[in-house]
């Protein structure tokens, strides 16, 4: 029987993902409306596409790494970062900013408002969760609280969407944000999100050890030296930071945080020191690839990114599930 040697598999998968990243980068920079050879606008097209590619990689990395953390924390390979409510919080924050059109905030560049709203929304949801964790909520209570919080914030978001429909342009903008997309991404959003993703990834990676031990359940993890309550609290913070950055860049993009970690765990194993960086890379490749597809599909307006990730991610996930069941 062939051995299960994660380092070898990790090297192979890393090589494959880097090659895929290069291919997606090439396609992302070349494809789209307008030619790079245009003497007047070529440089601008290139800059916009590079920004968009960078934003896709950052958002995908953040969401996929967030997915690894929640799947490890809940010992459930089917958990998605949205399960804690921070994604819905980020989404609601962005929707509210659009609805109020930033009329209440002065001194902030308008294009930053949406991203700041998302980050603020995620952190508000995080504060509620942390307040509950202070009382030492167990894993199931945390899961249920996150679920209820998420449901509440999604309902509030739907309310915002319905109110926004009163004005045609505003309604379109709110729906477009809700469905996810990287069409209007600019330097300011990337500048805001990049440090959050970088910090979140390093912080999450540095908690690989406790995350590994938590896979054995809380009693065994505690017996092996994990301060379970402290670990759970910090992991929730890293999830909030990573998902806030992801939503701030690309809106509420479904499935990245679910499919990518699940698929990679099957290949390279569950050790987090390998899985977190690989999921970040894989999430970046997946989302940047989906963004290229979104630009290529011939529809009147550009296809929303959240629709593409769902259309590609859901069948992929079903295929993975089928393989798991048949194994």
């Amino acid at each position: 029987m062939a051995g299960f040697v994660p380092p070898v598999r990790t090297a192979l998968v890393t090589g494959g993902l880097l090659a895929a990243l290069a291919a997606v980068a090439t396609a992302g920079l070349q494809l789209g409306a307008g030619s790079l050879d245009d003497p007047q606008h070529g440089a601008i097209f290139l800059e916009l596409r590079a920004l968009r590619f960078g934003a896709a990689v950052l958002a995908g990395s953040g969401l996929a790494a967030g997915g690894v953390l929640v799947q490890g924390l809940f010992r459930n390979p089917l958990a998605s970062p949205s399960i804690l409510g921070t994604t819905a919080g980020a989404s609601l924050g962005g929707q509210l900013v659009l609805l109020l059109q930033g009329s209440f905030i002065v001194g902030v560049r308008p294009e930053m408002l949406l991203s700041l709203g998302s980050v603020g929304g995620a952190f508000m949801a995080l504060l509620v969760l942390l307040a509950l964790l202070r009382r030492g909520a167990d894993r199931v209570t945390l899961l249920l609280t996150g679920f209820v919080l998420s449901t509440l914030l999604v309902a509030a978001g739907s309310f915002v969407v319905s109110v926004a429909q009163a004005q045609h342009e505003l309604g379109r903008a709110v729906v477009a944000f809700t469905l996810g997309g990287l069409g209007g991404v600019g330097w300011s959003q990337v500048t805001l999100a990049a440090p959050l993703v970088a910090f979140g990834l390093v912080a999450a990676w540095s908690w690989s050890g406790p995350l590994d031990l938590l896979l054995s359940g809380e009693t065994e993890a505690a017996a092996l030296g994990v301060d379970v309550i402290r670990a759970r609290r910090w992991i929730v913070v890293w999830v909030a930071i990573l998902t806030a950055a992801g939503v701030a860049l690309g809106g509420n993009v479904a499935f990245v945080g679910l499919v990518v970690p699940h698929a990679l765990r099957r290949i390279v194993g569950a050790e987090h020191r390998r899985l977190i960086p690989l999921a970040a890379l894989g999430g970046g490749v997946f989302l940047a690839g989906c963004d290229v597809v979104a630009r290529l599909v011939p529809t009147r307006a550009e296809m929303p990114l959240g629709v593409v990730t769902g259309l590609i991610g859901a069948p992929l996930f079903l295929w993975l599930l089928r393989k798991t069941v048949m194994r």
Binding site: R75, E220, A222
Partner: protein, 253 residues
Amino acid sequence: MSLEAREVTVRRGGREVLVDVSLDVEAGAVTGVLGPNGAGKSSLLLALLGALPDGLAKGEVTLEGRPLADWSAGERAQRVAYVPQVTELTAPLSVRSVVNMGRRATSGWAPWSSLGRDAVVDEAMARTDVTGLAERRFDALSGGEQRRVLLARALATEARVVLLDEPAASLDVGHALALYGRLRELARDGYAVVVVLHDLDDALRFTDRALLLEGGAAVAMGPTSAVITPERIEVVYGVTMQTDAGLRFEESG
């Protein structure tokens, strides 16, 4: 190395599952914790581990004279190891990675620590005869193999107190004998071994001392042969103990 429970009371789900139980865990001996289902055996083990979700209702557990709660989780893990009856670990991990988990509290929490080969891990794996499984997936092993890997993980902590919850449950007779043989070896090497058991025959053969629990209370504590007597077994388990042609139990009445 001393681990001691003093008049410990544990409340779970609104009722007392352990009442005023004391146990002094001795180095160089295998201590059996016996009793019928629901006697509080596993609760006592969790109390000794400091892993009860709601802590102790009364009493105290001390490690080297200091209350268990005063030790950090990492310090405790280097002194008291635990082998669960059933692990919740189902993630795809290699056997070596699982045994490596036992090194975390000692080697540090940084992702790059315990990356290389560790002599303590190698020794723990050799001692429990799982070296040949190092590159196999833990979740694909048989129950008996998993149990050996979990014992290796416990030994990799270098803790000198090892608590085991029904380690032979669901093992065939050969694997169970081998496992108890290993526990006896550990005791010979100076480890303090505490093992929750159901099988009284195994208790008589492989433990030096025993604590018999019933309904959360201690019925007897001492050398195993003195604890397991026909009178006590009839009272606690409701069965008649026959010792004339080997140990045999029959329903009373």
